[in-house]
């Protein structure tokens, strides 16, 4: 009973802390090389409601999914040149700058149980170093097997049991085949704008699915990747990907 009370008090104090933070302008974390807005803070704010306060690293220790830095996590839809963003070129330099901003749970029409209102973006969009397609490699975030290659999706099932999807790679650049065992950091394919006959921008859509067990029930869900990617990117910048 005492333990339960302590748990509730701790949860309340965490929530009060985040509530007080949310009343102020959220400033990005500044680093020497890299800065980012906290997980769940979507930019611009009209792009949706993120999982503010969810800093949990769902995939600890994964490698960053792009081979080289810099890389930029920000909105493709609401960024400059995006179809709901300010007018301009998708290649505008401002799209290729820090700070990063989370776009997991960004507004989408499809179902996503962990997002506000049960709808939203299942992963994050990552721009590579520059606005050039077929130049930068996406790599395996952990050891595993290529469980499927779709028309514009590569799925890696990691030894952890998590499933990672890489979307929009150039299909002619794929360095892997279905069923192949691959090692962490192994090249998968080049970042591009491929989505079959549908147009998209040059970026990697990266998402992670894992099964969560609660009591005797379980469910496979898309979990937030942003915190795990911040952690992975810091290691990449330090030369220990």
């Amino acid at each position: 009973m005492k333990n339960k009370l302590l748990k509730v008090l701790l949860a309340l104090s965490i929530s009060l802390f985040y509530t007080s933070c949310s009343k102020q302008d959220v400033k990005p974390h500044e680093g020497k090389k890299f800065s980012y807005y906290p997980p769940g803070i979507l930019k611009p704010s009209l792009s949706g409601i993120g999982r503010k306060g969810d800093n949990y690293i769902y995939a600890p220790g994964i490698r960053f999914p792009l081979e080289s830095a810099p890389a930029y996590i920000n909105s493709q839809v609401y960024g400059i040149g995006g179809y709901l963003g300010p007018q301009g070129s998708l290649c505008d330099n401002r799209n290729y700058q820090y700070p990063w901003s989370d776009n997991y749970c960004e507004k989408r029409s499809w179902k996503m149980p962990l997002c506000h209102g049960g709808k939203g973006h299942q992963g994050v969009d990552i721009r590579s170093s520059s606005c050039e397609k077929k130049k930068y490699y996406a790599v395996a975030v952990e050891n595993g097997v290529i469980s499927s290659i779709g028309k514009y999706t590569v799925t890696l099932r990691g030894v952890s049991g998590r499933t990672y999807r890489y979307l929009h790679l150039d299909p002619n650049s794929l360095q892997i085949r279905r069923g192949q065992q691959i090692r962490r950091s192994q090249r998968i394919g080049l970042v591009s704008d491929y989505m079959g006959k549908t147009k998209t921008s040059i970026h990697l859509h990266f998402d992670m699915q894992q099964t969560i067990k609660i009591g005797n029930r379980s469910k496979k869900v898309f979990v937030p990747p942003y915190s795990s990617l911040i952690d992975a990117y810091k290691r990449l910048l330090q030369g220990r990907p």
Binding site: G53, R108, Q122, S147, S160, H205, T211, K213, K219, V221
Partner: protein
């Protein structure tokens, strides 16, 4: 309120642990017709050591070009069509355990329909849990906006035609 829920959600992750789900094996379905000819060896060889019920759409059960990726606790089978790819996967692992007192996830799992259809990033999916195993059936098309195979209607038809073709008990 949402922040409070997320805080409780995170707090209940403090005892996170991974493991295997206990498969509740179905009784033999005597009504299911035995295959008149053996399934392709790519299927039977691929799944012989996989310890969960293997489902595939019956329409493609004899497709010799199917691609089978199977491990002890997981499988994924792809069927390559002209301009589209059907994939089905099953997984008996879990990566996190959270407390049943967690209100957010408790609500998500309690409200889960037997099968959930979705179309996201142009890919249509049917997510379902059978025998305590989580499965995903998906269709991905070259032209997801206009290809009639990349529709909820098509994936629900495929779901209704799933048959169990093996699994090591």
């Amino acid at each position: 309120m949402r922040i409070l829920l997320i805080s409780i959600f995170l707090f209940s992750f403090s005892h996170a642990q991974s493991g295997l789900l206990d498969v509740v094996w179905p009784k033999p379905n005597l009504k299911q017709q035995k295959p008149s000819i053996p399934y392709p060896s790519v299927l039977t060889q691929g799944i012989k050591n996989t310890a969960l019920p293997i489902y595939i759409p019956s329409n493609y059960a004899y497709d010799k070009k199917m691609i089978v990726v199977a491990e002890q606790n997981f499988y994924a089978i792809s069927f390559l069509l002209d301009g589209a790819i059907i994939n089905i996967s099953g997984d008996k692992t879990y990566q996190e355990t959270i407390s049943s007192e967690n209100p957010e996830f408790s609500a998500i799992t309690k409200n889960t329909a037997p099968v959930e259809y979705n179309k996201a990033e142009g890919i249509v999916t049917a997510n379902f849990n059978k025998h305590n195993v989580n499965y995903i059936l998906s269709i991905e098309c070259d032209d997801p906006e206009s290809d009639q195979r990349c529709t909820i209607s098509m994936v629900s038809t495929l779901y209704s035609k799933l048959i169990m073709v093996g699994g090591k008990q």
